[in-house]
C-alpha cells in the first residue's frame, strides 16, 4: 500500500448533486479524504497538482451491475482487468454480479472476489451474492454469511428468478440484512430462443424475437412481490416503455422498487442488428425508438434511479458466430460516460448534474455504499472528466479484455481525464 499523497484538483467545475454544489473551484485531498473544496485552495508542499480546468470534478461513478468473469472465465476478463477498465471509464466502484464459475453463492466465494478486487488497486469491487445456490432457482443461498463476508446485494442475474415463491422468500429474507434483491426480468417461456427484440426488424431479418412483455411480466411481478413483502427489489437493465410505466405505477404507491437502465438501451435501437452484428446482441435486447425515448424520459424523471453498464465481456471467438448462436452481452465500462453524455446530455434530455446523480449519487444511496459525494471528510472517490471532448472509440485500446462493443469507430463526446479512489489516482488519461 502506497502512502497517501496530497492531491490538489485545480480549477475544475465541482459538480456534486448530493450537496447541491455546482461551481468552479479547487478540491484538496489529504490522507485519502476530501479535505477542502471550493474557491481557490493553496497547494500544500509536495502535493500533486492536477489541472482540471475545463473539466468536471464529480463524485466517482458507481456501476451497480457488471460482470467481471472471475472466477471461471479469466480468459475473458479478470477482476484486475475489469477493475482497471472501470477506472478508465471513470468508475471508482463497481458491483460484480455472481454468475461466475463457480457461482458466487457462499461466503468463501464472496471473500475471494473482495480480495481480488482489493489487490487490483483500481476501482473498488463490491461482490453481489447469488440469490440461489448455483443460481439454480431452487435453494436460497446464505444471505447472512455472504453479507457478513462483504456482499452488498443478491441477484441471480444472468438468469431470471423464475419462481415467484423463491423471489418472495428472497425479498422477505433479505429484509433481515437490509440488502436489495436485484432481478433480471425475463419470462423464460416467452423469451426462449429469442435473439433480439421481437418487432418489425426481427421479422425482416428472420430472427426469433423476445417480446417486450417478457420483461414487463416479470417487472410487475417483482413490483407486486415487493409490495407484499415490504422488501427492496431492484430491477436490472430496464429496456421497454411498458416496464418504465409499471415502475412508475409501483413508485406512486410507495413500493420500494428501484431500477437501472444501461447506456445501450438509452442510445441504440434494434436497427443496430441490421447486418447481423453480434456486437448488437445482448439481453435484454435493443428495442424500438419509442422504447429508447421512454427509458430516456424515465432516467430524466427519476423513474429509473441509476444508470448501470451490465458490462459483459466475451471472447472474440465466442462472439464471432451465427447471430442466433452468439452469447448475449457487450462491454460498457469504458464507453458508458461518453454514450450517456452524447445521447442524453448533448441532446438536452438530461443536465450534467442529473447524469452525475444517476451514475454516482443514486447508486451509492440505493445500495448503501460509501461514496457518491464530494462532502468534506468523505473518502476521495472522484472522477474528473471533460464532457465536451470528442474521441473515437477504439476497442483495441480498451483495458477490458473484451472487444465486443457496438460503438467501435464512433465519435463520442465525454472523456475521463482522471479517476481517483481513496485519494489515489487509479487512472489518468495519457496526454
Amino acid at each position: 500500500m502506497t502512502e497517501h499523497r496530497d492531491v490538489l484538483l485545480k480549477g475544475g467545475r465541482l459538480l456534486d448533486p448530493s450537496s447541491n454544489r455546482d461551481g468552479v473551484g479547487d478540491l484538496l485531498i489529504r490522507d485519502g479524504k476530501v479535505e477542502a473544496l471550493g474557491g481557490v485552495i493553496a497547494a500544500p508542499d509536495g502535493a500533486d497538482i492536477v489541472d482540471c480546468a475545463g473539466q468536471v470534478v464529480s463524485p466517482g461513478f458507481i456501476d451497480v451491475h457488471c460482470h467481471l468473469r472471475e472466477p471461471g472465465r479469466e480468459d475473458v476478463e479478470t477482476i484486475l482487468t475489469g477493475a482497471r477498465a472501470a477506472a478508465a471509464g471513470g468508475f471508482t466502484a463497481v458491483c460484480a454480479m455472481p454468475n461466475t464459475d463457480p457461482v458466487t453463492d457462499n461466503q468463501a466465494a464472496v471473500g475471494f472476489v473482495l480480495k481480488q478486487g482489493s489487490a487490483a488497486q483500481a476501482a473498488r469491487v463490491y461482490p453481489i451474492g447469488a440469490i440461489s445456490i448455483g443460481q439454480n432457482g431452487e435453494r436460497l443461498a446464505e444471505f447472512g454469511e455472504m453479507v457478513h463476508a462483504g456482499a452488498v446485494a443478491v441477484s441471480d442475474d444472468g438468469r431470471p428468478v423464475v419462481s415467484a415463491q423463491l423471489m418472495r422468500t428472497a425479498l422477505e429474507y433479505a429484509r433481515t440484512f437490509g440488502i436489495p434483491v436485484a432481478d433480471h426480468c425475463e419470462e423464460p417461456t416467452l423469451a426462449a430462443g429469442g435473439a433480439m427484440h421481437e418487432g418489425f426488424v426481427s421479422a425482416r431479418l428472420g430472427l426469433k424475437g423476445i417480446p417486450a412483455e417478457a420483461e414487463e411480466i416479470m417487472a410487475i411481478r417483482d413490483i407486486l412481490l415487493a409490495r407484499l413483502t415490504g422488501g427492496h427489489v431492484h430491477l436490472c437493465h430496464m429496456s421497454t416503455k411498458g416496464s418504465v410505466e409499471l415502475i412508475r405505477w409501483g413508485k406512486d404507491r410507495g413500493i420500494t422498487v428501484t431500477a437501472e437502465a444501461c447506456p445501450h438501451h438509452l442510445s441504440l435501437t434494434d436497427a443496430e442488428v441490421e447486418g447481423y452484428d453480434t456486437n448488437a446482441k445482448m439481453n435484454p435486447p435493443l428495442r424500438t425508438a419509442a422504447d429508447v425515448e421512454a427509458v430516456q424520459q424515465a432516467v430524466k424523471d427519476g423513474t429509473i434511479d441509476v444508470i448501470a453498464t451490465d458490462h459483459a465481456p466475451h471472447h472474440n471467438d465466442d462472439k464471432q458466430r451465427e447471430f442466433s448462436e452468439a452469447p448475449n452481452g457487450i462491454v460498457g465500462l469504458e464507453t458508458a460516460l461518453a454514450v450517456n453524455v452524447t445521447w442524453l446530455v448533448k441532446s438536452g434530455i438530461l443536465s450534467l448534474g442529473t447524469l452525475v446523480e444517476r451514475m454516482a449519487c443514486a447508486p451509492a444511496r440505493l445500495f448503501g455504499l460509501p461514496g457518491g459525494t464530494l462532502r468534506r471528510g468523505t473518502a476521495a472517490d472522484i472522477t474528473v472528466f471533460d464532457p465536451a471532448q470528442a474521441w473515437t472509440v477504439d476497442p483495441n485500446g480498451f483495458r477490458t479484455k473484451g472487444r465486443n462493443t457496438p460503438y467501435g469507430g464512433r465519435i463520442l463526446h465525454g472523456r475521463v481525464g482522471c479517476t481517483l479512489v481513496d485519494g489515489r489516482i487509479v487512472y489518468q488519461k495519457m496526454g
Binding site: L140, A141, F143, E145, L166, E172, Y173, T176, T229
Partner: protein
C-alpha cells in the same frame, strides 16, 4: 358459571382474560399433587379420556396422560399408525365411534388446522385441542403463561418476545393470544420469510434481529426451527439460522437485564438455542414441563362434568 370454559378447550383466541386466569389459578395448587408420594387425586375417577394423536408427539401426549392418570381418569391412547385412520376412516367416523363408546373427553392433536373444532362440533364429549395444524396449542400457551407468571408474579406489562418460525407455529399463536389478553407486551423476531405477512395485525412488535429482541425483552420464548423449513426454502440453512438468529450465550451476555428463556421443546441444540443457554441459569424449560402437567390437570378438571348449577349445594359448603 356452570361450565366456566364451555364444553371444549379449542384455543385461547376466543377465551376471556377471566377464563384464562381461572385456568392458571386452578393449575397453581394442582402442582403440589405431582410432588406427593401418591401422585393421585380421585377427582376424575370413572371418567374416560381418549388421547387421539394424529401427529406423532411424545412429550405432549405423555404430559396429558400423566395429567389424566393423576386425576384418576381412565385413559386410552390412539396413535395414527395403530388406528383405523390409516385404513381411511374419516375424522367424522372416528368422532362418531368415540361417541358411541361413551367417551367423556377427547384430547386431539391433528395436522390440520381446525380439526379440533371439527371434532368438537360433532361429539358431545369435551374436546381439548392438543395442537391443530398451525392454528393453536392452547395448553402450551397456558403452561408458558403460568411459568412466566410464577417467575414474575404477574404478566401485566411484561415483555415477551417469541423468536423463530412464527409462520408455522401454533405455539406462537396461542402465546400471542393468551399473553396479550393478560396484559403482557408481545413481540416476535425472526426472518421475514418465517413471519406471517399480516403479523402487525396481531398486535405485536416485530424485530428483524435477535439482538434487538434481547435488548427489549424480559423473556424469550424460543421456537424450534424444523429442518423442513430449510428444505422448503424459507431459509438457506440451519447453520445460517443459528449464526443470525441463534439464542447464544454471547448474545445473552449483552442483554441489559436477566432474561427468562423458554422453549416449548423439543430443542434443536445448536440451531435456535445453544446448550449453554438451554441448560443455563436463566432457562425455565424444565419448569415449563412441570407446569404443563398441572395446567392440563386444571383443564381436565374445569371441563369435566357439565351439570347445571345447583346453587344451594354449591354455596356454603356441604359439610
Amino acid at each position: 358459571m356452570s361450565a366456566p370454559l364451555g364444553k371444549d378447550l379449542l384455543g385461547l383466541e376466543h377465551l376471556s382474560a377471566e377464563q384464562i386466569t381461572l385456568i392458571l389459578d386452578t393449575a397453581e395448587p394442582l402442582r403440589e399433587i405431582s410432588e406427593r408420594a401418591i401422585k393421585k387425586v380421585p377427582t376424575l375417577r370413572g371418567a374416560t379420556v381418549v388421547n387421539l394423536f394424529f401427529e406423532a408427539s411424545t412429550r405432549t401426549r405423555i404430559s396429558f396422560e400423566f395429567a389424566e392418570k393423576r386425576m384418576s381418569a381412565d385413559t386410552v391412547n390412539v396413535a395414527t399408525s395403530a388406528s383405523s385412520v390409516t385404513k381411511g376412516e374419516t375424522l367424522v367416523d372416528t368422532a362418531k365411534n368415540l361417541e358411541a363408546m361413551k367417551i367423556d373427553m377427547v384430547v386431539i392433536r391433528h395436522a390440520s388446522s381446525g380439526a379440533a373444532r371439527f371434532l368438537a362440533e360433532r361429539i358431545e364429549s369435551n374436546v381439548i385441542n392438543a395442537g391443530d395444524g398451525t392454528h393453536e396449542h392452547p395448553t402450551q400457551g397456558l403452561l408458558d403463561m403460568l411459568t412466566l407468571r410464577r417467575h414474575f408474579g404477574t404478566l401485566t406489562g411484561k415483555r415477551v418476545c417469541i423468536v423463530g418460525d412464527v409462520l408455522h407455529s401454533r405455539v406462537a399463536r396461542s402465546n400471542i393470544w393468551g399473553l396479550t389478553k393478560l396484559g403482557a407486551e408481545v413481540a416476535v423476531c425472526g426472518p421475514r420469510s418465517l413471519l406471517p405477512t399480516a403479523i402487525s395485525e396481531f398486535g405485536v412488535q416485530v424485530f428483524d434481529r435477535v439482538e434487538q429482541a434481547i435488548e427489549w425483552a424480559d423473556a424469550l420464548n424460543v421456537l424450534r426451527l424444523q429442518l423442513e423449513r430449510m428444505t422448503a426454502g424459507y431459509i438457506p440453512s440451519l447453520r445460517e439460522y443459528n449464526r443470525v438468529f441463534g439464542v447464544t450465550r454471547e448474545r445473552l451476555e449483552r442483554a441489559p437485564r436477566d432474561l427468562v428463556i423458554m422453549h416449548p421443546g423439543p430443542m434443536n441444540r445448536g440451531v435456535e438455542i445453544d446448550s449453554e443457554v438451554a441448560d443455563g441459569p436463566h432457562s425455565v424449560i424444565l419448569e415449563q414441563v412441570t407446569n404443563g402437567v398441572a395446567v392440563r390437570m386444571a383443564v381436565l378438571y374445569l371441563l369435566a362434568g357439565n351439570a347445571p348449577a345447583l346453587a344451594e349445594a354449591a354455596k356454603g359448603g356441604d359439610r
